[in-house]
Subunit: 339 residues, 4 copies
Amino acid sequence: MTAIALMGAGRMARVHAAAIAAAGARVATIYDPVAQAAEALAETTGARIAASAAEAMADPQVEAIMIATSSDTHIELLDHAVSLGKPVLCEKPLAATFAESRDFVARVGEAAARRVFLGFNRRFDRGHASVREGVHAGRIGRLEQLTITSRDPAPPPLEYIPRSGGLFRDMMIHDFDMARSILSSDIVSVTAHGSSIVDPDIGRLGDIDTASVTMLTRDGTIINILNSRRCAFGFDQRIEAFGEKGMLMSDNPRQSGFRAFTAETPGTDAPILEFFMERYGPSYTAEIRLFLECARDGRDMPVNAIDGLMAAYLAEAAAASLKRGATVHLTGPDQDFAE
Amino acid sequence: MTAIALMGAGRMARVHAAAIAAAGARVATIYDPVAQAAEALAETTGARIAASAAEAMADPQVEAIMIATSSDTHIELLDHAVSLGKPVLCEKPLAATFAESRDFVARVGEAAARRVFLGFNRRFDRGHASVREGVHAGRIGRLEQLTITSRDPAPPPLEYIPRSGGLFRDMMIHDFDMARSILSSDIVSVTAHGSSIVDPDIGRLGDIDTASVTMLTRDGTIINILNSRRCAFGFDQRIEAFGEKGMLMSDNPRQSGFRAFTAETPGTDAPILEFFMERYGPSYTAEIRLFLECARDGRDMPVNAIDGLMAAYLAEAAAASLKRGATVHLTGPDQDFAE
Amino acid sequence: MTAIALMGAGRMARVHAAAIAAAGARVATIYDPVAQAAEALAETTGARIAASAAEAMADPQVEAIMIATSSDTHIELLDHAVSLGKPVLCEKPLAATFAESRDFVARVGEAAARRVFLGFNRRFDRGHASVREGVHAGRIGRLEQLTITSRDPAPPPLEYIPRSGGLFRDMMIHDFDMARSILSSDIVSVTAHGSSIVDPDIGRLGDIDTASVTMLTRDGTIINILNSRRCAFGFDQRIEAFGEKGMLMSDNPRQSGFRAFTAETPGTDAPILEFFMERYGPSYTAEIRLFLECARDGRDMPVNAIDGLMAAYLAEAAAASLKRGATVHLTGPDQDFAE
Amino acid sequence: MTAIALMGAGRMARVHAAAIAAAGARVATIYDPVAQAAEALAETTGARIAASAAEAMADPQVEAIMIATSSDTHIELLDHAVSLGKPVLCEKPLAATFAESRDFVARVGEAAARRVFLGFNRRFDRGHASVREGVHAGRIGRLEQLTITSRDPAPPPLEYIPRSGGLFRDMMIHDFDMARSILSSDIVSVTAHGSSIVDPDIGRLGDIDTASVTMLTRDGTIINILNSRRCAFGFDQRIEAFGEKGMLMSDNPRQSGFRAFTAETPGTDAPILEFFMERYGPSYTAEIRLFLECARDGRDMPVNAIDGLMAAYLAEAAAASLKRGATVHLTGPDQDFAE
């Protein structure tokens, strides 16, 4: 049983703790500045509470590190974990800001950055993974159009909006990573459109709640991403990959195979899976299994800090495009969007 | 353009007249004792009104005959058509009673009976035909279970019940024929169950409105037929053929590809196709095309008076099984059900 | 039976002739410069062949006019039909060029233009119409995102590309009209992306074969249109209208309710409806019925020359956007795209 | 955390142990005559290994008992558990034979039998439960037809057949219980048909592998159950409940929302959920939660030893019907099938 140091004891840390157990590993040490949270999680996992993050990571038993703290602490913890040379998995995003992400990768170097597992856990959704694998296996030949739809059931609390970084950095970042994971050619341009029509208060806070981004790859594939902060029928998460030999789709899975046929609704499905733990919960176990496997083999992580940086870079470009009302042509993560 | 003599000018005759036009043939002569009906149909088809059925059929132009009159006149008209040696298509049922059907086949002989096209037009439904063709092509290997569900949107008027012959002879006869068309082994037993729960008045008239029949073939295939005289969500017409390599299904087609996703109905399809003209309407054209093709080539008809007799025989056996509360073992259409 | 003068006897004219019969009207006169085509159609419809278009339209029996000739002759025939004051239905597009469309509307005036029925027949597709009617009836509340996917089974012959006007004017024009018919707010911007990846020869001829257009309405609705000249699994024609209360979808209808379940394909549907006559064929009858009804009542046509002009205007804007690599802000159909 | 004594440490015991943890309870004591199995399970659960079943149950910490041993030991363990007055959950079947089940209920009395939870865990499948709840809530009005399809992916090893009790007692027993849980009227007759067509060796051993049973309730509802020992496309587990106001269906859930559209398979779903742990695994947690809740409240168990007896009774009747080739009319679980 691999022994893991878990940074954080909040909601995401609890999700990871459960996934660690399901994946057949164990939490050996925990650190969280909120003592109560740390104690609660220590009790259900049997982990030891460490006096500091450094101490938790340094424990000689600890073979791997997981960071599930608030975004603004990721980089400091990552720096330390990398310096210890122990395998590390960090919850997304890589850092609170794009600049920090960029600096981190520059500082540790590309090779080390590829050894940091970044928790874009939607990649491990069974339907999404089938699309990606099918595209990579050539089932639809050349990929021509990729359409990703992501809609949350309801907007976050208004007070969260100002510190969210905006829809592109907070929500669409998952879709930027998903697009990159399916594509096999570089993205060369980003064009963003947005509206604040779900809740005008979101607009008053300077953000949008409805968005569409179009991207082009070097070899001509067209990507469309649609986002909304609200969806009346649940957590709408779909992908369509269209190419020369057909289309692969990841549709919303249903809560069950129940269907009702009445005069008014002559064939109604069961509701789609609810918000992210019901839809993506099983992905966390798959994610941790893969992390431990790569750690054991000393391989590069299949989703890593470079991916975190590149998704953040696309979010930055989308924000710039929306602001300018123009297409942004990409030159690389060093690109300066201040203008 | 093949010239056709059309017997009858009522509802089914009008259906056939439209299908004849769509199939690229023409109605040359019409006979119906109700002058007004004959005149109305003559006007839209350009056909000549004949003074008698015999005269309509005898017209030297006439190359084929279609019988779409009331059931009790079928046999007399068929006898005459057969005597003329012209190809003939007769609406189902072959005759008003099983005895008459049996006598007709005995009188004209098997060879001539195979030249009489019998209008079991559900065979030409695109989905049902795909199941039959798939089974015959071996897509599911050996056929092990065959389940046919047929439900009408609403019961017929009560006054129709006494002269309908009962559910097995009036409604399930389509399913008996469908089963026979898919099977490749003889049916050896029939067990019927029935209830009068849709409308107790149907029960008071001595009939049932809800039924289930189980049949076995010589080689062990189990067939289940489910019928109901009422279905709240429309005209429910489905087939499932299950075998060693999988299952072929003919599900209810929808009026369109429309779907609605709301909080209450998180994925509702368009209604299924409505009563028989919407569901089976296109089948009439396919049926007539096949009839004319076989007539031209002088081939046996792929659905003929023998099929009409055999479906009626199964209906007779089901009625006997229900009455006796016991399985009826089949010995052949000469079997005596009086007991 | 309304008597109709049919301009043209080619493929689309034959489609309309069949639809006229199915709608219970009749073709009284036909004109086509190709005598053989006119004769063939006269034979199956019983229409009289006129010596000129003007003579065909002028026939005192003729109550309505249908124009199904090549695009470059539409305007001349329309001018004449309008001058006669008889109701007229013109196949799409309104004219061969946007300038001609604009001049026509300017010349006859808005009121007369609204009396010219323009044959955007996809509006009459049952699934698409259900989406439009549902949105207008408020089933999803405020419309927030509208996504239209249109993919042809295969590209047209290469020699057609140079005279097609390009993908936006030839193919996406249907989707521009569809979007306008569903929206209830004006479109204010158009951003186009395109690639030539289906067939590089299309690119060499200066056209694209894969496209994505994003449009915004005045009140913030975001529209995405996806087109491809090739689709391996058939004629992919779908709409998703997403709003505050849910989503209405028009999915591809299937050829039947057939489904196959095998070890390799554990649930495969029947193919989708084939190219446009199978998918949109029934729409022509609905279209003609509505045309005749509006003609009889002297009402404005629900889809008319103004709609034809506006769809052409959006196509023009999309072409300009693609050329410029920038969003085009709309000012009205007088907008000058030469730059 | 409720402390549980777990009888058995084999495959089903491990399933239950995982479900106990997921339900927030804990295994306190374990007994299994195979020491190695007991030790393995003790290690992962932290439970104490008891020297005997009686000792495991008697532990003062133990608040509830779960029996997951081989069928032939159920009754002895149940008798002991009932004598202790502790809540008990017993894996299905209630006993190895119908006679033993009958004797057990007679011995402990109906009231005590209703306190024994019997693990018909398919009742807790999300889709099946939605059908049952919908029927009981009156969503389809009066229930008229109930159709249950259960097909295993592959037959059990041949050596299992002779000691399985036969298809009705081993496999269809789940469906008999499912039918009873949905119905609200007594079953009055059972008619069985069966074939040995999947594997003739099963027939040579005196059993069947393909079956259809028709049952009638006192108020006229018709139930059809279809079973097969083999299904090429997986674990086919479906229910259709049809009534005056419509139909509720539990279709096979899919492994994900993945769909593939190619020229050959123009719309193929992801595979259905695999054999029983993937399909019914989550039901075990729901089952244990409900058991603990009822235990805590001192309520009758919603699925109990009476249900176990009645399902066994229907299996007995089906076996008798098949043997006699005749409908069996039910008189109550005292009925003598020896003939």
